[in-house]
Subunit: 328 residues, 2 copies
DNA sequence: CTGAAAGCGCTTACAG
DNA sequence: CTGAAAGCGCTTACAG
């Protein structure tokens, strides 16, 4: 498991090939402005192969002064399929541009960017001004703040999360509902996003002249969800916008405990379209976000900014759409 | 967004403090073998603060020859709560030892370890011999292969996934079932793990003298699941071990379509305990893995190996347990 | 108690 | 077409 072997350097390759380190470097990096004999070329390549040479990143970085690593800072919670698609497409698009993506779960620690000196940092989480300053100091060239901050969709300046709320509300209102409720998660780490969501639903209601939505916290447990629901029935909502599909599932479970049926007694709409959504009883109507699209547009933004071009406003987060099923 | 400012180096700090780079380095790294005047100390610290100095990782690495970054290679699929707890605890335990964890979604690309030159690579995914050789070349000191390869629990030499299958089988058999079925996922990326799972269930059956389990592929869709189930009814199983909770939910949905009830017509047990499991109809009996424990024990292994100590066999993956609910 | 100097491995002007 | 040399920013023996 442990290895004490000395590192193979370009000097070794040069010696093995009977050439200089400069030539080795030129061949290995395919420098266009240099013309190299085919014979020399081959000699270098073969020597490198034979020795198992692989350039040492820190040294190369120190010399070139520019990293090709992009760091993605992820919020500290499990990732659904949308988040996964986002990361996957972001990585693929960056890779095609010669950039490597690595992720780190947010813990507010400066150590990460200092430890890897990335060319860019993408936040799927909020950055404090102190963190941003610290990144700059660590030599990070491009900083893409969280979607909640800057990936905010331009029209209306509303955040992504609030857009989802707006779409949920609009869908329910379009179905004829007037009194809406919001089911929010009890996870403290989600409260900021939850607030955005609620404001999106409220916006939809006001646009249609419907009363402001009421809201409640719904734990991921049938009994607790039933209690939360029971406390809300006084205001007689006819439909609920859930923070995400899990919360929606909890609402459905609570309703079952209370002897209520969806969508007749109460319509329910979720968000994320997790696999369990379509398997629920009844199958859950939900809002889907094209995570892949978000990933690709963030990648384009990073690549442009790194190339010194004006990346344009902020990344486009793409279209949301509702997947109509039976719960609403 | 882009910044052209020159990097602040230790030379700048030295100049600002009116001292040498050596002294700056000694103070900033708190070298124990050096005694430094309190006044000098403070002068360095203040100058560094004033200039916003942060040591440049590549340079330090090049000199010290040893990174404090650990790379985790993750399989390319969404992570459930178990995987998340594993990553979280692994990161925390490494952090306490001065190591920084970063992750990368597997894509079989050598670029990752070459780009960041980590001290250790932990695989939550299988490594080919070529990849391992490539890591060695890139200077990776410690390589921890996937649990499926080496985190395999010692007793019996069975892999983690197969242990889960065994526990599922044992639980069902203990409930009096004799004819078991396995519900496997249709995702091609999961086939290897699925095979392990099946072999675990088979092992449990043989230990009890029950017939070998039959198996079927169950897509995450009620209709398709019903079809799969219908094709299986000929062999008259009385219980099914699902690959994970999502597949279990699909089995439940398929049964509903067929007019079957759990657990009376068919008992169902899942694995992972995702939030949707306890909210299902009926609430899903499942197997829970202590992801946090796995993360901590992998961290201990990495830390010991990096310190040159014998890390002992391979990381302990900790106890599995079944969460009994209504579906079995 | 502090500093001058070497060297980690790489790339890239600059000579030849 | 190829090579000798400088220098990226850091740490650490080695002198003083």
């Amino acid at each position: 498991v442990a290895g004490v072997r000395r590192r193979v350097t370009s000097t070794d390759v040069a010696r093995e090939a009977g050439l200089s380190r400069a030539t080795v470097s030129y061949v290995l990096n395919d420098v266009p402005s240099r013309s190299i004999t085919e014979a020399t070329r081959r000699r270098v390549l073969e020597a490198a192969e034979r020795l198992g040479y692989s350039p040492y990143a820190p040294a190369r970085l120190l010399r070139k002064g520019r990293s090709d690593v992009v760091l993605l800072v992820l919020p500290d919670r499990p990732q659904g399929p949308v988040g996964h698609a986002m990361v996957e497409q972001l990585a693929a698009a960056l890779d095609a541009a010669g950039l490597t993506l690595v992720s780190h779960l947010s813990a507010g620690d400066a150590a990460v960017w200092n430890a890897i000196a990335p060319a860019a940092v993408v936040g799927a989480t909020l950055f404090t001004p102190e963190q941003t300053a610290d990144m700059r100091r660590a030599g990070v060239e491009v900083i893409v703040p969280s979607d909640e901050q800057a990936l905010a969709i331009q029209r209306g300046g509303a955040s992504w999360s609030s857009q989802i709320g707006r779409l949920q509300g609009r869908h329910l209102l379009g179905l004829g509902h007037r009194r809406l409720a919001c089911a929010l998660p009890d996870d403290p780490r989600l409260q900021d996003v939850a607030r955005q969501r609620l404001s999106g639903v409220r916006k939809a209601c006001r646009a249609e002249g419907a009363p402001d939505p009421v809201h409640m916290t719904v734990p991921l447990d049938a009994r607790a969800a039933a209690d939360a629901l029971a406390g809300l029935l006084g205001s007689a909502p006819s439909a609920v916008c859930a923070f995400n599909d899990e919360v929606a599932l909890a609402v459905l479970a609570g309703m079952r405990t209370l002897g209520l049926r969806a969508p007749d007694d109460l319509a329910v709409i979720g968000a994320d379209d997790i696999p369990a959504a379509r398997l629920a009883v009844p199958p859950l109507t939900t809002v889907i976000v094209d995570g892949g699209h978000v990933g690709r547009s963030v990648a384009a933004y990073v690549i442009a900014a790194l190339a010194g071009e004006d990346p344009g406003a902020t990344p486009d987060v793409g279209a949301l759409s509702v997947v109509p099923r039976d719960s609403a």
